[in-house]
């Protein structure tokens, strides 16, 4: 028997049927198409970059497409436009021959790919366990106060400063708990910070100055010292690090 025959004694309610709910697709519109490259006005350097990225993956010739470059391509869009703009996503989609909706669904999964305008600079304030124990929440307060960003929003996905130049966002562990409490400013790590550092950072960003040069991760030595005496077994080491 056909599984989809309606039950005979089923009394319908005669309510209007939303096609989108029964077929999973809005019957009124066409399914989304892959945009044509000629329609999207993709800057040459962005197109070349995405093509080079696609070329790095072994699925580049597979029939199922070459989606491996999705995240790198979205990074490229974000670097070009400051965030993953709808036009940028369409451009990347045209180069990659996937639908814009596909790339958007990927972008929405990842915290670092931004689907809204996010200022010239981004400050991610870690509020995870180690940073929280060392004052991460207070540091986020201080950044919001110094920049005029909304504290409620900053703790839930990010908020723009009053002048729209800086995005401040509470963030999960950034993998630098040794610097707790720490921040990532334009993808570089700094810590441990005090609340007063927040205003300095915001001022430095506005002036285009170097951010907290003395508190950069790059300057941090190994905590156990740069040189630890070897013992017999490590002394006879062959291979790397002799």
């Amino acid at each position: 028997m056909d599984r989809y025959t309606p039950l005979e004694d089923f009394v319908g309610l005669d309510l209007p049927v939303d096609q989108a709910n029964t077929t999973g697709r809005d019957q009124l519109g066409e399914p989304e198409q892959i945009p044509e490259l000629s329609d999207v006005n993709c800057p040459d350097e962005l197109r070349q970059l995405i093509e080079a990225l696609m070329d790095r993956y072994p699925d580049k010739d597979s029939r199922e497409g070459h989606k491996s470059a999705s995240i790198p391509a979205l990074w490229a869009v974000q670097r070009q436009y400051g965030w993953c703009t709808p036009e940028g996503i369409r451009q990347a989609a045209a180069v990659m021959k996937v639908t814009p909706a596909y790339l958007e669904s990927v972008a929405s999964f990842y915290d670092l790919l931004r689907l809204e305008p996010s200022g010239k600079s981004q400050v991610l304030v870690c509020t995870n366990i180690s940073c929280w124990m060392r004052g991460g929440d207070e540091l986020l307060d201080a950044f919001c106060e110094a920049s005029g960003a909304d504290r409620g929003k900053a703790g839930h996905g990010g908020a723009l400063s009053a002048d729209g130049e800086v995005m401040v966002s509470g963030f999960e562990c950034l993998g630098a708990c040794d610097l707790a409490p720490m921040v990532s400013v334009n993808e570089r790590y700094f810590g441990p910070l005090e609340a007063a550092d927040a205003k300095t950072v915001i001022d430095q960003l506005r002036e285009g100055a170097d951010v907290l040069p003395g508190k950069s991760l790059a300057k941090r030595p190994l905590p156990g010292g740069e040189d630890v005496p070897a013992d017999d077994r490590t002394d006879s080491l062959k291979g790397p690090n002799q």
């Binding site: 072994p58 989606k67 999964f109 915290d111 080491l237 062959k238």
Partner: protein, 446 residues
């Protein structure tokens, strides 16, 4: 007088010379013996011998599960289908920051490890999946990989061996779940990072459906040392079941947080007090996670345990990625539980119900606890929710919240009850999770 610090020193193999400013440059790395092992591997050594050494060494995965690395290599099929290696550099578990140090200071050690492991597993395509937040470390890797290509350590017909290897540095974009090995594969294939059902395991069917070896940065960084010095030498470090050294990330309420490389099996006390300097002045240790935020917390009475995979498992916790987070007496355990649960709730990919709903309800109930709107019965409900998560999820992210949260509720139940009781006298708790001002109870139907 401050208590005397127990004497302990680091045993550096992976981090040896890590302080040399230019170690991340190929020429400097070579001047310290770098790539000599890859040369031997590609020109003289027998593949079977290398796989044997890796198995024999007992090198266990440093990314969390501690699975023997050599076994994984030996699981790879021997046919000529395309095989892949993925180096897991996603490092997003709260408390973990060792891979960052290893990649930033010594990227070529990792590349050499990948090249040797790829030869041993007859693998032609390798990837380093690095978390997007590690932008600086990603740049360092990009440069190092380019140098290694230029010097002929990567690419076609490496060192005349006939073996080809392409290595791509792939940056993630901020999702803890991509550290889970099958989610990592989906992310690499350009999808949303949702874990896959296992089996099939990646060694059989992984990236693009091909057999795939997935290992952590630290695991792979150990490979050149095992091959250069042999399994017996490697086993002279550490314990019988946990051979080798471990880069341990220590953070939280300690004086000298950071990465320390020690032999596995050293005492926790030596690590936390001796190396990391112990708790901040005027404070005492209350609890600590021995293996990242997903490990059940231990208490000060456990400080004399050796730090090894087997001993942490015996104590009901785990060594995990080797990240110790110390909480002192200024930290409220219910708040710590909430902070932990919130992280997993945020990072749950939402694919399976016990994890998606369980993390959500755990957060809500813990919020009620810290807001003083819970009853002691809620603690039992929290525990039972955790029981319903553990073992019922597709990947272990759900368990990763449930294990530490249940440990905290069990071991610190008194503190939870005190928090509830203290709040209960100040406000009138109800079961709907919202305090009703006294006087309006009748109107609310009570």
């Amino acid at each position: 007088m401050a208590p005397k610090e127990p004497g302990i020193k680091e045993t550096r193999i992976l981090l040896r010379h890590a302080g040399v400013p230019d170690l991340h440059k190929l020429a400097t790395y070579e001047s310290y013996g770098g790539y000599a092992t890859q040369k031997r591997a590609y020109t003289e050594l027998e593949i079977d011998w290398m796989v044997d050494q890796l198995e024999e060494s007992g090198l266990r995965g440093r990314g969390g599960a501690g699975f023997p690395m050599g076994k994984k290599v030996s699981f790879l099929p021997h046919g000529d289908e395309a095989k892949y290696l993925c180096c897991n550099a996603d490092e997003s578990e709260p408390g973990a920051f060792k891979d960052r140090e290893l990649m930033q200071r010594n990227p070529h050690q990792l590349i050499e490890g990948i090249a040797i492991a790829s030869l041993a597993g007859d693998i032609g395509h390798a990837f380093i999946f690095i978390r997007g937040e590690y932008d600086k470390q990603g740049d360092i890797l990009d440069e190092a990989v380019a140098e290694a290509y230029a010097a002929g350590y990567l690419g076609k017909n490496i060192l005349g061996s006939g073996h080809d290897l392409e290595l791509v540095v792939h940056r993630g974009a901020g999702a803890y779940i991509c550290g889970e090995e099958t989610a990592l594969l989906d992310a690499l294939e350009g999808k949303r990072g949702n874990p896959r059902l296992k089996p099939p395991f990646p060694a059989v069917q992984g990236l693009y459906g091909g057999p795939t070896l997935i290992n952590n940065v630290e695991t792979l960084s150990n490979v050149p040392h095992v091959i250069a010095n042999g399994a017996d030498w490697f086993k002279s470090f550490g314990t019988e079941q946990s051979p080798g050294t471990k880069v341990v990330s220590i953070s939280g309420c300690v004086k000298r947080p950071g990465n320390y490389e020690v032999e596995l099996g050293v005492k926790l006390r030596d690590l936390i007090f001796g190396l990391a300097g112990g708790p901040l002045d005027g404070h005492e240790i209350k609890a600590f996670y021995p293996g990242g935020s997903s490990s059940p917390v231990l208490e000060p009475k456990d400080l004399d345990l050796p730090y090894s995979f087997e001993s942490m498992a015996e104590a009901g916790s785990m060594l995990g990625s080797g990240s110790i987070i110390v909480a002192d007496d200024s930290v409220s355990i219910p708040h710590l539980a909430l902070r932990t649960a919130r992280f997993y709730h945020h990072e749950s990919c939402g694919k399976c119900t016990p994890c998606r709903e369980g993390t959500n309800w755990t957060v809500k109930m813990l919020e009620r606890v810290v807001r003083g709107e819970a009853t002691p019965m809620d603690l039992d409900i929290i525990s039972s929710v955790q029981k319903n998560i553990i073992g019922h999820c597709l990947c272990v992210l759900g368990d990763s919240m449930a294990m530490p949260v249940s440990a905290m509720v069990n071991k610190f139940r008194k503190e939870f009850e005190e928090v509830i009781a203290a709040a209960a006298v100040s406000e009138f708790p109800t079961l709907v999770g919202r305090p009703i001002p006294v006087g309006t109870q009748e109107a609310a139907g009570h």
